[in-house]
């Protein structure tokens, strides 16, 4: 059986799409990341044109973030004030990112830059997470209390200090806005929601309690991906509603599986798992960079990428 995707202008096996949608949905249920960094390579692999893949997956990430952050909101694990500041910065950053992306396209080096960004950030974030969570597990085994060290740095001297009661923080409002700008910028260039960068940034840079981080990060991703979806559909015409429907169906199924699975692991074990997946994707992209594909390739349409 096959199903025709009107915007991608191709037929595909709907069960395969639903399956991978469920896989990524399960991941986002377990880890609180959108899963865009995984979904993009999977869709490329299935032969979906890159521009359509990147734009359409934004709808799935958006949906996953809505359900995730609603669930966290109900449990009181959402810092709306922090989320709004992050979102404001995020929209600013992604606008800048779109311009930089277009400039990179015009210089012809966009593919290389994207791949290097992926390797650096996936490698860095994955490695940091792996080390940190393994240490936490060891400390727990040794019977010591797990606590995050809070350093007093230059960032605590910044103006516009505000109270964030949910996060139990009293920091400058410029900090979350800056983090938002950075995440929004990277999300526009890399074509992802940015959860895998935002989560560590909130924990290690802002010092937010882990409990609040996932819900707040998902809350921000709703707006970033909704904006991405609208912009892609409006200006590029690359959002495929049929593909989105299949991914959403998979996501609904997967999110259920994800939450059930997440009950079987503790927070540190989940972080080790996520770190391993992130590192695996990083190694795959690094291998592609070093080994390369067929000598000559071609692509229809706007050429590679088409993000933002």
């Amino acid at each position: 059986m096959s199903m025709y995707l009107p915007i991608a202008e191709m037929a595909t096996n709907p069960f395969v799409i639903v399956f991978f949608g469920a896989l990524v949905g399960a991941m986002s249920g377990m880890f609180g990341v959108g899963g865009g960094f995984l979904m993009a390579p999977i869709l490329f692999f299935l032969g979906i044109p890159p521009s359509v893949a990147v734009s359409t997956e934004a709808t799935q990430i958006c949906a996953a973030s809505v359900s995730g952050s609603l669930a966290h909101f109900r449990r009181g694990n959402l810092d709306i004030k922090m989320g709004v500041l992050l979102t404001g910065g995020g929209l600013l950053g992604s606008t800048v990112g779109v311009f930089v992306f277009r400039w990179l396209v015009s210089t012809g080096s966009v593919d290389l830059v994207i791949q290097i960004f992926y390797v650096l950030f996936l490698g860095g974030v994955g490695g940091m997470m792996l080390v940190e969570s393994l240490q936490a597990i060891l400390r727990r085994r040794a019977g010591k209390a797990v606590s995050l060290r809070r350093r007093h740095g230059f960032m605590h001297g910044l103006p516009f200090r505000t109270k964030f009661p949910r996060s139990k923080l009293y920091i400058s409002a410029l900090l979350p806005i800056t983090v938002g700008v950075g995440v929004g910028f990277l999300s526009a260039i890399m074509g992802v929601g940015g959860g895998f960068i935002m989560v560590p940034a909130m924990i290690y840079l802002l010092g937010m309690p882990t409990l609040v981080v996932v819900g707040t990060s998902l809350f921000t991703i709703i707006f970033v991906t909704a904006n991405n979806t609208l912009q892609h559909a409006w200006f590029n015409g690359t959002v495929d509603l049929v593909l989105a429907g299949l991914l959403l169906l998979g996501g609904v199924i997967g999110a259920q599986i994800g939450v059930r699975l997440s009950g079987r692991f503790n927070a540190e074990q989940l972080r080790v798992l996520l770190a391993i997946i992130v590192l695996a994707v990083c190694i795959k992209i690094l291998m592609d960079l070093l080994v390369g594909g067929p000598a000559v390739q071609f692509s229809f349409g706007q050429g590679g990428g088409g993000h933002a």
């Binding site: 096959s2 202008e9 809505v66 979806t229 959403l248």
Partner: protein
Amino acid sequence: MPDRPLRHFRWSRRLLALSPLPLALLTLLMLLAFAAAPRAQGPDVAAVESQVSVGLFSGKIIVRTFGSTASPDVPVRLELIGPPREVVFTQSVRRFGVKVNEPIDAAPQTIPAIRAELSSTERPMRPAEGPLEEAMIRDGALLLLPGAIKLEPTGLFFAEIPLPASAPPGRYSILIFHDHTGTAGAADAEPVVLAAETFEIRQRGFVALVSHGAKDYAFLYGLLCVLVALSAGWFTERVFRNRR
């Protein structure tokens, strides 16, 4: 040699199985064509359907063509050319120690989105012309199908052109001609055209609605997509909550 190539084409596209109705129609048309033409000379005829539509559950696209030639000893060839598309060819080059896909030409070229060449002989067809065509064959944008045309000793021929599901909508042209390759003095002989026709692949139903909606009402379509995503997320959370 064909004195008057008739142009009664009828193309048909169906999901994998042969569907009886268009085939019966084709046969009827063929019979009519034969009846109308002077039998002694044996006319060059082919039958085609002018439009093919793609729906939500369409799979592989198979275009069928029937025909008859006055000189059954000469192999028949068919060339299908798809609608033009912009294409960017890239090659893998080493830069700063890593492999990078770089465009071969900065400006995109315009080439047919899909091309197919069929022949009635089992003899392998021409080799790929350079790395660009090799890449196209690998990705299914260029099909070389020797022996795909069934040519009977009576001069009747039949061919199925299997287009990939990714064949884009648009106007396709088809050229059927005598293949004199390998015969004496054929090197500079012009190919004798049996038939030249076009057909169209169109989107229908929901597929057409979505693809036109996305073009003509881009902003509203975008809002719809966001709305679908938001409500799907909300729905998921509801299902979650009730399950607990």
